[in-house]
């Protein structure tokens, strides 16, 4: 058939148009009637034409970030459960919520990203095309977050970012359709920098262990920039691939570098392994360890190696005596899952709660309306006090918590790993909105 058409002089382009119209014709009746008087965009309104709204979740359940991914997933599940049931904690954050979001029950699908952008993008494309996901989430690796940012912008589906520490996520790779709640390289460095300069002094020599992707590069850069202002120098920066099985050659370089402080930017299981091996190669006896971007469960998994170590984090459960919402969250989480939540779960919970609030305020799932609700920049409650989203780069302005690993003898219970040293307000930590080259792009 095709050959005949071509031989009769019909161009391929003509054929293509024929095909296109055929398909177009066949697809049109399948389109649901418009639920609201808004133009269709992304999975809206198709995704919310029924009584439910679907969320695509991709977290690493295998690979080097698996432990953190599971914790994060629990935060998402708890948030969805609370939103669907109209839990008190959700109502504290999103007062208009009754049950579900805009009366729609939330459904969700979970895919294992293995912290690989490719897996995450594939899974989310499926959730968008097959489940008509109205919102997607994922992270734990900033490479995933950045890739999903771009996917969200292309597909016009809102992306509420999971754990992502890279400056790029709301910097040079920011998008109109992406939002981030948690702290990141710049704010971590600005918050922990003064603390470690105070502790270790000026003009010190630092060695870095950096994972080789956007998160590692930007966090290391932010730390280097900040510490340079106190006269610190970098004697070596050991860049390792994600999921490296052995850090011996990196650590030998560190051990022989003459550094005073080892700044370990590795994350997930990489952080655990590199810290354990640093001990084995005598590095931790020669120099002080700093973890600028805290890793959930690292204190437990390294078996005491975090004692006396400074780290910056998004959330630590013992702040509950200062923040009542944190106490509510800890109790609800521990009741359901049997342990104290770490910051991955906190970020997951809060970012969903914020999204629910924005949808309620917009009165619609229509993405441009929801985005504009975020961009109003109003003050919102969170588990660590009041916060707000910056309209320019969609980054949440929120405090950073500085913790220090407790000595075993000081631990009050088996999950009392850290002392909260300081809760640094977010406003002063942030770079100028355009400093990292954010151009968010269009609404449609």
């Amino acid at each position: 058939m095709t050959d005949d058409l071509i031989r009769r002089g019909l161009s391929r382009r003509g054929l293509l148009q024929t095909t296109a119209s055929l398909i177009g014709g066949s697809m049109l009746p399948a389109m649901p009637a418009f639920a609201e008087d808004k133009p269709a965009i992304g999975s809206y309104p198709a995704g919310v034409s029924g009584s439910t709204a679907f969320i695509g979740i991709s977290v690493p359940r295998t690979g080097t970030y698996a432990v953190q991914g599971e914790d994060e997933l629990k935060g998402y599940q708890l948030a969805i459960e609370h939103i669907n049931s109209g839990h008190d904690l959700i109502k504290k954050i999103s007062p208009k919520t009754s049950k579900g979001v805009l009366g729609k029950e939330l459904k969700f699908g979970v895919a294992d990203s293995a912290a690989k952008p490719n897996e995450a993008v594939q899974a989310q494309q499926r959730f968008i095309s097959e489940n008509k996901a109205i919102m997607i989430t994922g992270g734990t690796s900033s490479a995933v977050a950045v890739a999903l940012n771009k996917l969200a912008q292309r597909e016009h589906v809102l992306f509420v970012c999971g754990i992502s520490g890279s400056n790029d996520t709301t910097g040079k790779d920011c998008v109109r359709y992406g939002f981030r709640q948690n702290f990141f390289g710049q704010t971590a460095a600005a918050a922990i920098g003064p603390v470690i300069v105070r502790e270790f002094g000026k003009n010190k020599k630092a060695a870095y262990l950096t994972p080789d992707y956007t998160y590692g590069h930007t966090v290391t850069k932010s730390m280097q920039d900040f510490l340079a202002t106190a006269g610190w120098t970098t004697v070596t920066n050991q860049v390792a691939p994600l999921g490296a099985p052995d850090y011996s050659s990196y650590l030998l370089n560190v051990a022989n570098s003459g550094a005073d402080v080892l700044i370990n930017v590795n994350w997930g299981h990489d952080a655990v392994l590199s810290t354990q091996q640093a001990k084995q190669f005598g590095v931790l006896d020669k120099m002080k360890l700093v973890v600028p971007y805290q890793v959930p469960f690292i204190a437990r998994e390294t078996g005491g190696l975090m004692q006396g170590v400074y780290a910056a984090t998004d959330y630590w459960w013992t702040i509950e005596d200062k923040f009542p919402l944190a106490k509510m969250f800890n109790e609800a989480f521990e009741k359901k899952y049997g342990y104290k939540p770490e910051w991955g779960a906190e970020n997951a919970y809060v970012s969903f709660a914020h999204w629910a609030r924005m949808c309620e305020q917009a009165g619609s799932f229509n993405p441009p309306d929801v985005i504009k609700a975020y961009e109003k920049g109003e003050t919102l409650p969170s588990l660590v006090g009041d916060v707000h989203y910056r309209p320019e780069d969609h980054q949440c302005v929120r405090p950073v918590i500085i913790v220090k690993g407790k000595m075993q003898k000081d631990m009050k219970n088996k999950e009392d790993w850290y002392d909260v040293v300081e809760i640094v307000p977010g406003e002063g930590l942030m770079q100028k909105p355009d400093a990292f080259g954010c151009h968010p792009g269009d609404y449609s």
Binding site: T2, Q122, Y213
Partner: protein, 614 residues
């Protein structure tokens, strides 16, 4: 082989691609999955040409997939290039150039070495992508934000966004890919690819520069991989670093083997099975991570029991049901054997035109030819000369160095010392391919046929070497477009009395027929000097008589040298005989002189008299 009515496959492909969006959703395929299958299918078209058709198993195709993908994605996301199709094509060219350079190294070795080297080279690309080039490729981040194609047609802009809309673009790319691949495998180059897969030694010996053709297949596969890699970026708005991983190469290999190698559509089928099972086992059966185990087991079982994969299996089944390939039983063959002698013997075949007709000395002259293997001397200081048009026999007891001598004359092995002059030209140290192109070739003592092909295809491959030279890139020419090919093949078929068996696969031939085809392969290259290494070996007495007749007709118009143990037949055939013993020339003379020579009697004939009598 894909031999069908003209354009049948193309048409079916087009119909399939057009029907897919209407049918596949009912089978539970999402548009994204279908698009992904097509990208793998396109990737696999090139790989199948390399592996299925040419027989080169590469575990390093990810290098080219990634190269093409990242070049295209870089142009589109970082370099401000806006033409998606243009970027894909530039990516494809980049991958092809890379393939050429890698091929130069990897194709230095064959078989297992080749597989290992391709794995290692692909790993280099992976690490290079992550480190030296991470500023361009984004390292672990990959390159997000790849746009979708849109074409300005003047009156309107067609924009392929996602799902079935993007499908149209990808399907069109796949369709073009299929058309090109079909043209290639049906071209003379495609025929030679199959020859290399089946018997690289013989493909070389009939005068093809197989290194050049292997490199061609490698570059074609790289180009397909590069284009498919670019499409992957377009498809998922993101060019993943995973494209460079060993897993990518491994998945391609497995999909191709599952679907069926050497079928072009095998990789597509394999990808469909793979992605369908992945979804189905994970979602419907809730098997989670076990899906890959199931696929692995399926793969191993298929490799063990169904070498042709799913497509190959279906083709066999179809053949079985339709009875199309029911083997002619042995009896019919006997009949054919008996019938044939009654036919008029075909006219003698013309030998290749002489390059410099003025030359009138001996056609072949070897002086001081010596071959040593370590301490062992196989041939020692042989002087040997044959005149134009002569029919010469060589005899000698086992281990006299006859075959080694032949191998040196055809330049299969290089002499330790000495000189070989063919038609006044020094050919010492040339390659066997070049010598064959000059008009000197041999038939083998042990059959060296293209066993996976039919008789006609076998002869076609040999004839192509003569008609096209040792290397030529007529990738889009049809076989029928090669001038003189049909005539030469038909003529050779008639000459070796295999016309009735022309479309029979070699594996189904009787031994005597294979032997004749062996001679036919040498003959189809139109040699002026033909060496026959024991052409009568293993034949029944009746077959010998027929073959001697055949040899006589072959010898008209060309020079022939024959090694054989069957003295009676040989002495009947030839004009002069050279006797080799212990790697040296013992004697040279007419059959009558040899028969009566005392030295030969004693040294040779006496010892094996029983054998001669038999």
């Amino acid at each position: 082989m894909l031999k069908q009515r003209p354009f049948l496959i193309e048409t079916l492909t087009a119909i399939g691609l057009i029907a897919a969006p209407f049918l596949l959703p009912h089978l539970g395929f999402a548009p994204n999955t279908v698009n992904r299958i097509l990208v793998w299918g396109l990737f696999g078209l090139g790989f199948d040409i390399l592996f299925g058709f040419t027989g080169l198993l590469s575990f390093g195709q990810s290098a080219f997939y990634g190269t093409g993908g990242f070049v295209a994605a870089y142009l589109l996301t970082r370099a401000g290039f806006s033409n998606v199709l243009g970027a894909l094509i530039i990516g494809m060219i980049a991958a092809a150039v890379t393939g050429y350079l890698i091929g130069l190294i990897a194709l230095r070795r064959t078989g297992i070495y080749f597989a290992m080297i391709t794995v290692a080279i692909a790993e280099v690309f992976f690490f290079v992508e992550f480190n030296p080039l991470s500023d361009f490729t984004g390292g672990e981040n990959g390159l997000p934000g790849v746009p979708t194609p849109s074409f300005n047609l003047g009156f309107t802009t067609v924009h392929f966004t996602n799902g079935w809309s993007l499908y149209q673009f990808i399907a069109l790319c796949y369709f073009v890919g299929v058309i090109i691949a079909l043209r290639i495998v049906r071209s003379p180059v495609g025929a030679i690819f199959s020859a290399i897969r089946d018997n690289p030694l013989r493909a070389t010996a009939v005068g093809h520069n197989i290194h050049g053709y292997k490199l061609t297949a490698f570059v074609i596969a790289a180009a397909y991989a590069g284009f498919a890699g670019g499409l992957l970026g377009v498809l998922q708005a993101f060019m993943p670093p995973d494209a460079f991983t060993f897993d990518t190469s491994g998945q391609l290999v497995m999909q191709t083997a599952i679907g069926g190698r050497g079928t072009l559509f095998g990789p597509l089928v394999g990808a469909a099975v793979w992605l369908f099972l992945q979804d189905f086992l994970q979602a419907a059966l809730g098997l989670g991570a076990a899906w890959k185990l199931v696929l692995g087991v399926v793969f191993v079982v298929l490799v063990c029991f169904l070498r042709g994969g799913i497509v190959g299996g279906l083709a066999d089944l179809y053949g079985l049901v339709s009875g199309k390939r029911a083997r002619p039983a042995a009896e019919t063959e006997e009949e054919a054997e008996i019938e044939t002698p009654q036919q008029a013997p075909p006219a003698p075949m013309q030998a290749k035109e002489v390059a410099h007709p003025a030359y009138s000395g001996p056609i072949l002259k070897a002086t001081g030819l010596t071959k040593r293997y370590g301490g062992l001397v196989a041939n020692s200081d042989i002087d040997f000369s044959v005149n134009q048009g002569e029919l010469r026999g060589i005899i000698g007891p086992n281990g006299a160095g006859k075959s080694t001598f032949f191998k040196m004359l055809t330049c299969e092995i290089a002499p330790t010392s000495g000189q070989i002059v063919f038609e006044g030209r020094d050919i010492t140290g040339l390659k066997v391919t070049e010598v064959c192109q000059l008009g000197l070739t041999k038939s083998y003592q042990v059959n060296q046929l293209f066993t996976g092909l039919t008789v006609r295809q076998n002869l076609t491959i040999a004839a192509l070497a003569e008609l096209r030279g040792k290397f030529r890139l007529d990738l889009f020419r049809k076989l029928s477009g090669v001038k003189g090919l049909t005539e030469q093949v038909e003529h050779t078929l008639a000459l070796v009395n295999l016309t009735r068996r022309a479309d029979t696969p070699v594996s189904e031939l009787a031994y005597g027929e294979k032997r004749r085809l062996e001679i036919g392969l040498a003959l189809a290259t139109s040699p002026r000097l033909l060496l026959l290494d024991e052409p009568l070996a293993g034949m029944s007495p009746r077959e010998r008589v027929e073959t001697v007749k055949l040899l006589k007709s072959i010898a008209r118009g060309r020079t022939v040298i024959i090694i054989d143990h069957d003295m009676d037949s040989l002495f009947e055939l030839v004009e002069r005989v050279t006797v080799l013993q212990e790697g040296k020339v013992l004697l040279d003379g007419t059959p009558e002189e040899i028969r009566t020579n005392a030295a030969v009697q004693e040294a040779y004939l006496g010892g094996v008299h029983g054998e001669i009598a038999a």
